[in-house]
């Protein structure tokens, strides 16, 4: 039994992958708690897909350099969320329709760029599904620093983010910088998505944002408790998912998401049974 647990850890790529999965999981869970409470799951999914043209350009011009991928991805997410806001304000189109139009368009642009550049199948699947076991030591450093900044901001502005999620009118009467905080939250979501790109990829990103937070939401009565439990669920999912991947050869991103989905279902069943008794 102990061997089963220790053997994967003798490989450097497994250790790096686990650290990355935990970092990314915790950041996604913290930011994702606000995504769940404000009903922004669709926007999160859309932003994840919409960064594809950005990372494609970053990949083509930077030749796989993580820094280029990061900045191009972040810029694309920023442009997309600004575009969604502008389209909603300037037309009669509802917000979710604007999200749908822009995210599908951006995603298609990304596929077009990658297919035109030649190595379609290999690189596209890399972006779509991630490759946490390919994380290098320098990638880990970048992930760690970015994750640290996001976590500090979320903790430092915890009470402000709580108020704008709970009662935007109160936030305004308290004269909080509501516009700034809302844009900052969008930026944090975008950063989280870009950081998580290598771990779970674009297609499964929304699960990192909402699944642990949704599970925690079912059983907690206070926001900080929800965020802490969501982080725990995400961390456990990262570790257990990679063991699952190691022993069953299931793709790492899928294994992580499946584990957190299983944990969510367990919590749900448990609360349902407890309610009945």
């Amino acid at each position: 039994m102990v061997d089963l647990l220790l053997e994967p850890l003798s490989y450097g790529f497994m250790v790096r992958g686990m650290i990355a999965a935990i970092l990314v999981g915790v950041v996604s869970a913290l930011v994702g708690s606000f995504v769940v409470l404000r009903g922004m799951a669709f926007l999160g999914d859309a932003l994840a897909h919409a960064i594809l043209p950005g990372v494609a350009v970053g990949y083509i011009t930077g030749g796989g350099d993580q820094g280029a991928l990061f900045w191009w991805g972040l810029a694309t997410a920023g442009v997309t969320s600004l575009g969604i806001g502008a389209l909603t304000r300037a037309t009669r189109i509802k917000n979710d329709t604007a999200i749908g139009v822009l995210f599908a368009g951006m995603f298609a642009l990304g596929i077009a760029l990658i297919s035109a550049s030649g190595s379609y199948a290999v690189d596209l699947s890399h972006f779509l599904f991630g490759n946490v076991l390919g994380v290098s030591a320098s990638d880990l450093l970048v992930t760690g620093i970015t994750a640290g900044i996001v976590i500090l901001l979320v903790i430092g502005l915890y009470k402000e983010f709580m108020v704008i999620a709970f009662d935007p009118v109160l936030a305004k009467t308290l004269r909080l910088p509501v516009r700034f905080l809302e844009n900052l939250l969008l930026l944090l979501i975008a950063v989280t998505i870009v950081v998580a790109l290598q771990t779970v990829g674009i297609a499964l990103m929304v699960a990192m944002l909402v699944t642990p937070a949704a599970g925690a939401y079912l059983v907690t009565r206070r926001l900080w408790a929800m965020m802490a439990l969501a982080s725990l669920i995400a961390g456990i999912s990262g570790i257990a998912g990679l063991y699952l991947s190691f022993y069953t050869s299931v793709a790492s991103g899928a294994a992580i998401v499946l584990t957190s989905t299983a944990l969510f279902l367990l919590i749900w069943v448990w609360t349902a049974l407890r309610h009945r008794s």
Partner: protein, 283 residues
């Protein structure tokens, strides 16, 4: 007194001028979704006053409150709080309709009241002892201290309303705007709210209450404002709540019945199917 002066001058650097009315609204016009919601509304509020704002649905009560609170923009006209524009002031609290609140949100009673302190605590800071003390005092004021660890969904309607009044008090608001706080409450819950409003008045807080309840508006407030896009009447309750003025405000919704011992005014409330018709006896 000293406390009060200190409090006045501590709100975000904007000082209150002594001797001016707490709120002055002049020639205020506003629209809601392209339609006029308020037309040329002007009035003044003096300190420590409790005013009921009555009028039919869509009369612009919520719009008026949101503009006073500085949450919504007016098309024209001015709002002055102690002689200043509302921006930069946090001495006004807006208590939302209960239907506007996400009661499933993972916060306790304590957390919701502490939210009133957030503007004063400041970015990247955590609540201090003085803030916790103020929250405790606010909860005692509304008789909700024993419930401070409850999630807000586990409260009755009246208790939920009181939590938000405590939040306004924790905010150290001098003017509290309450949007339909009495809707859907039973008689004991309504009594509890008025007991707390009395206490707020005792501490120098002015209260503006939007309500559908003409009976309570007539008996429990210093002045009554009759609003239907325009300000129709504003004065002592017995002078404002008369059949003539109510017909002005409510139009076809009002039925005046003549009985032996006086007249009864009935108002149909078309927007709330489950709400009983409101009956007001006018002597």
């Amino acid at each position: 007194m000293l406390e009060k002066i200190k409090r006045r001058f501590s709100t975000q650097g904007v000082s209150h001028q002594a001797g001016t009315s707490i709120l002055e609204v002049r020639e205020l016009s506003a629209s809601y979704e392209g339609r006029p919601a308020l037309e040329s509304v002007s009035f003044k509020l003096v300190e420590n006053e409790r005013v009921a704002v009555v009028g039919p649905n869509g009369a612009g009560k919520s719009t008026l409150f949101k503009i006073i609170a500085g949450v919504q923009e007016a098309d024209s006209g001015t709002v002055r709080i102690y002689g200043h524009v509302p921006v930069g002031h946090i001495c006004i609290a807006y208590v939302p309709q209960r239907s506007q609140v996400d009661w499933q949100f993972p916060v306790t009673v304590w957390d919701v009241v502490m939210m009133g302190r957030i503007g004063k605590i400041g970015l990247f800071r955590w609540p201090r002892k003085a803030d916790a003390q103020k929250v405790k005092e606010s909860l005692e004021l509304v008789e909700m201290e024993p419930y401070s660890n409850r999630q807000i969904d586990q409260l009755s309607g009246g208790q939920q309303q009181r939590v938000f009044i405590a939040q306004a008090f924790a905010q150290e608001a001098d003017l509290v705007l309450m949007d339909e706080p009495l809707a859907g409450l039973d008689a004991p819950a309504v009594e509890a709210i008025f007991r707390i409003l009395d206490r707020l008045q005792g501490r120098g807080v002015s209260v503006l209450v939007a309500t559908h309840d003409l009976h309570l508006a007539g008996e429990r407030f210093d002045r009554v404002m009759l609003l239907n896009r325009r300000l129709l009447q504003f004065g002592a309750p017995e002078a404002v709540i008369t059949p003539e003025f109510l017909v002005d405000a409510y139009g076809e919704q009002v039925h005046v019945l003549h009985t032996d011992d006086g007249r009864i005014v009935m108002i149909e409330d078309n927007c709330h199917d489950d709400a009983p018709e409101e009956v007001r006896r006018v002597g």
